[in-house]
Symmetry: C2
Amino acid sequence: MSFIATPQSMHFAEALPLISGAAIRDYTLAYETYGQLNADKSNAVLVCHALNASHHVAGVYEGEPRSEGWWDNMIGPGKPVDTNRFFVIGVNNLGSCFGSTGPMHKHPDTGEVYGADFPVVTVEDWVNAQARLLDRLGIGQLAAVLGGSLGGMQALSWTLQYPERTRHAVVVASAPNLTAENIAFNEVARRAIVTDPDFHGGHFYRHGVIPQRGLRIARMIGHITYLSDDVMNEKFGRQLREGIHLKYSTQEVEFQIESYLRYQGDKFSEYFDANTYLLITRALDYFDPALRHGGSLAQALAVARARFLLVSFTTDWRFSPQRSREIVQALLENRRDVSYAEIDAPHGHDAFLLDDARYMGVMRSYFDSISKELA
Amino acid sequence: MSFIATPQSMHFAEALPLISGAAIRDYTLAYETYGQLNADKSNAVLVCHALNASHHVAGVYEGEPRSEGWWDNMIGPGKPVDTNRFFVIGVNNLGSCFGSTGPMHKHPDTGEVYGADFPVVTVEDWVNAQARLLDRLGIGQLAAVLGGSLGGMQALSWTLQYPERTRHAVVVASAPNLTAENIAFNEVARRAIVTDPDFHGGHFYRHGVIPQRGLRIARMIGHITYLSDDVMNEKFGRQLREGIHLKYSTQEVEFQIESYLRYQGDKFSEYFDANTYLLITRALDYFDPALRHGGSLAQALAVARARFLLVSFTTDWRFSPQRSREIVQALLENRRDVSYAEIDAPHGHDAFLLDDARYMGVMRSYFDSISKELA
């Protein structure tokens, strides 16, 4: 049984300048907090989310017993990130479709739904927006910033954009930038959405339709890349839907894996916003702190002051251990304090969301050590 | 400068019974032959093609100097498969869109274009159709059957369906069946095609349209899986299309890899038939000789009499070396004569089509040894 979480929101009238040169004003951030901020405000932990997640990180909503947050196994009373000791903040990012201002909301100037006109947001913009929220909450310095995958990119970026505000950064299943292959998968997913006739150039809301075909394809591609080949073979293998009796059809479901993927695609297309998908995958593509340092990650990370924990998973081929090791290496070149755990887990990229005794043990012991620094 | 190839075709009036229980009659196979059949007809080599290929295996067409066949680096006078010594036959498979009878042709009963009603064809069906062509050409036994990827599955299947007609089988970058991940990629590609509104349930020909959106997506997914992560990083990496100046757009091309994939998708969608794509990916999914042997590949291969060469490539994650080793292992359990080469090449699955000194050397020496057996 998990604790009760209560979603909150904060409005920001003043414009947030974006990396692209555009700005966004009159926006709202949805967030949740768990635990109590201590007297000297030194126990705050910010949790950053990845593609398909939100500010609802842990706990359940009142009267909805199955509404656990996406990292409920990690965060809560007595859990690795112990809310009896830490004040944990989950924020939904700008451009999302889960509560914060996004493409389905109205532009304050025109009163029209943003749609495709929602400005392109980057990891750096999200971090700036999160920093403003912390300002409002009266939190100067974070005990830790924590995230997996795209969330890990935000955690890393915190240490570069606000080095003095970040005591620890916990970067899980992440990378210093996307490889060409990852950009390629994102691009195929985006093309599937954008070329769906129901996309209407991103202004599908006006037409009362959603580009479900494209979203389904995008999600199916995503799902394949989140899992490892091993786990797919173990879970589905070549299992036929209806025993050994083959239908010999190109369109009917023949294998269990097809049925699973179609189901995942259908479900996703019913709740996820197409413009949000474009924005978030683009933020992933753009993240590359080394770009403005001639490609040198070590130079890019020279400004960081935080202590780091990096975690990767052996079968994660989307954000492979090698990518985490690049970050570790660049931090060591800067003589930063860094711990690194490479977890032997079969679940691919998804492993960062799953229970694994060694993974949870590493996280627990790192956060235990952070809590010992608190007054 | 390559030799001149001449496409030929052979009509078959009699019905070919298919694995599905259906049959196809009054069909045509397009094929090419290179070199001369020797007096005792012992030097024939059949080359089987993969997804995006045809009977045009080697040589160029008269007056079209850039029309080299898809395996022109491998096959020809003085090449590893030397047409001065071997009589090489390339056949286009049933259901293809490159000359043999396929979904864009007319059903002999109705006079209507097959479209989605073209029967589902399997690797076994293709092999049976190829065997009939060889009958007509007066070829009893093949010196060798040769193929890469899906073509390798056909070569393997020849040794099971016609063990006495197959002296050697050369199976390159192939597998005894597809993994769940491979089926998954095929399924996403098929869903992209089938859900394109221009697909019209597979009868798009009647509507004067083609499902280009779906074909583009299918090809982009395919392309990602044919290349290795390494080669993508080397060829494209995070190179921006227009220098360091970012556009901050979700739909415009920003990275070179996006431009490359879009170009490949566009090109493919202009010449490849959507129904053919469904049929060929399905033939890949279905291939699984162990299925009717309780999953035992060794039992399935017990009937084979051929000598084998298996070749795989280290960075091929679609048909990984491990899958070739499974075939080698099953053959060894049957005390078959098998050679195996695992080529350290960076190019992923595509490596089987590319020049690589070690790969070409292995092929040359294997075919040299076959030629020494000839009278």
